[in-house]
Amino acid sequence: MSVLVIAEHENGVLKPETAKVVHAASKLGAEIHVLVAGHNVGSVAEAAAQIAGVTAVKLVDDSALDHQLAESTADLVITLAQGYSHILAAASTTGKNIMPRVAALLDKSQISEIVDVVDADTFMRPIYAGNAIATVKSLEAQKVITVRASAFDAAGEQAPVAVETLTASVENTSSSFVGVEQTESERPELTAAPVVISGGRGMQNGENFSLLEGIADKLGAAIGASRAAVDAGFVPNDMQVGQTGKIVAPDLYIAVGISGAIQHLAGMKDSKVIVAINKDPEAPIFQVADYGLVADLFDVLPQLEQAL
């Protein structure tokens, strides 16, 4: 038996989540094949071939797979699914979009956002915004799984394995790509950064996020936000950290003007070290913070930038 990992990529670049999913897959004790499905993704396949533990790469390059729309990608995956005991993808917005569709077409349940592999049938996953960790056992012969990338280290590198090019016979007549508004940033990606500094409603407006930027520059940090900051239009949606946003687990997480609602904690409480800056000493964020600073953020952020 072997397992199939669906590669995560964007603009012809393999995303770091894939090496983490491969690491999770390596705990299943089977051969690991990676499927690279998309359009103009030859370079992605080359990169996937160098992830340690990968034994084969299947490349399907077709305009019907452009932008990895769920309809055509799921149709492709099910044509290749036979013989795989597990099909895995990152629990990114791409994986979350495609995988349940794959599962339903295969008449399988999906196990979402696993954070640990107990054995080939048994997995751990957070439920109720991370307030409980469920151990679940699949009773099915074939498993469809999404993986919380932040819970696994990236697999290392290897000398590249062969890339096998397959032809797709998929088309998509029901949906089409219209456009994308990509958030441009020079900063490291939120889910991959070693340091994350996030602002909440306490930041008051979008301009004030510049107070975080100087600090982020010095720390090589990504900038995140609470839902309240995104809803208020301070920053774009893809900066939201939390139960229903991005899940991060950096070495250092600095929460500024964030109260610490359970939905926010769900996205960051596995960070190694948490710092909270909040003027309210009763704010729940202090219950998870290693270092709390009770202060007005407008006083201390400039000082912090100076001190670094």
């Binding site: 769920a70 349940s109 949906s175 949606n237």
Partner: protein, 250 residues
């Protein structure tokens, strides 16, 4: 255009779930329950489509035990025309829910199904995509904007890198993200009126769907607790601790 809105009864989002002492599950006895927040957004979107003259009828559906009729009444008070309760005491996985919903889609032929993107209890984020697959419809997940025109739903999606827009041929399935709209509250007169709106009950086992579990819940545990931290007095002390104690910056 008929719109079907599946809604789920879940723990209130303000309540922190507690694990049972025997680690068999989460303890929901005497816990406040509510409509899943993403379903509230779905109901709101459907009602706005009706108010705009785009939708002709809004049907809310919930699958579960008798108690979920409470959330169906809420949906009716918010403006849904009719409710359907698919009754079962079984513990359902998203695949089961999607299969039951697919049966209803067959019966009701809605041109649009709007679901929440995620239940805040199971955190599955599966049902909408599965329903789309089972009914062979295109899907617009994590929607922050939905426009209906010329037989298409144009859906703006919240994705990891920003916003993506797709055009779906109707009939289609949409799942809601947080920024799609701000749900209204039900007014007292509308709550009263809702009591007279139709609420049909269908026994789940009459729909011919195999509800046998495919995933077994082995154990539910508390997450690892974080050690209580310390309060620092100044920025200087903070930076010092981060450098010398936590060693996360240099």
């Amino acid at each position: 255009m008929k719109v079907l809105v599946p809604i789920k009864r879940v723990i209130d989002y303000n309540v922190k779930a507690r694990v049972k002492a025997d680690n068999s599950d989460v303890d929901l006895t005497n816990v406040k329950m509510a409509m899943n927040p993403f379903c509230e957004i779905a109901v709101e979107e459907a009602i706005r489509l009706k108010e705009a003259g785009t939708a002709s009828e809004v049907i809310a559906v919930s699958i579960g035990d008798k108690a979920c009729q409470e959330q169906l009444r809420t949906a009716l008070a918010l403006g849904a025309d009719k409710a359907i309760h698919i009754e079962t005491d079984a513990k359902l996985e998203s695949l089961h829910v999607a299969k039951l919903l697919a049966k209803l889609v067959e019966q009701e032929s809605p041109e649009l199904v709007i679901l929440g993107k995620q239940s805040i209890d199971s955190d599955n984020n599966q049902t909408g995509q599965m329903l789309a697959a089972l009914t062979k419809r295109p899907q617009g997940t994590f929607a922050s904007k939905v426009e209906i025109a010329d037989g298409k739903a144009v859906v703006t999606r919240e994705v990891d890198g920003g916003l993506q827009t797709v055009a779906l041929n109707l009939p289609a399935v949409v799942t809601t993200d947080l920024r799609l709209n701000e749900p209204r509250y039900a007014s007292l007169p509308n709550i009263m009126k809702a009591k007279r709106k139709p609420l049909d009950v269908i026994a789940a086992d009459t729909l011919g769907v195999d509800l046998a579990p495919r995933v077994e819940l082995v154990r539910v545990a508390e997450p690892a607790k974080r050690e209580a931290g310390i309060v620092v007095e100044s920025v200087e002390e903070l930076v010092n601790k981060l450098k010398t104690e936590a060693k996360v910056i240099s």
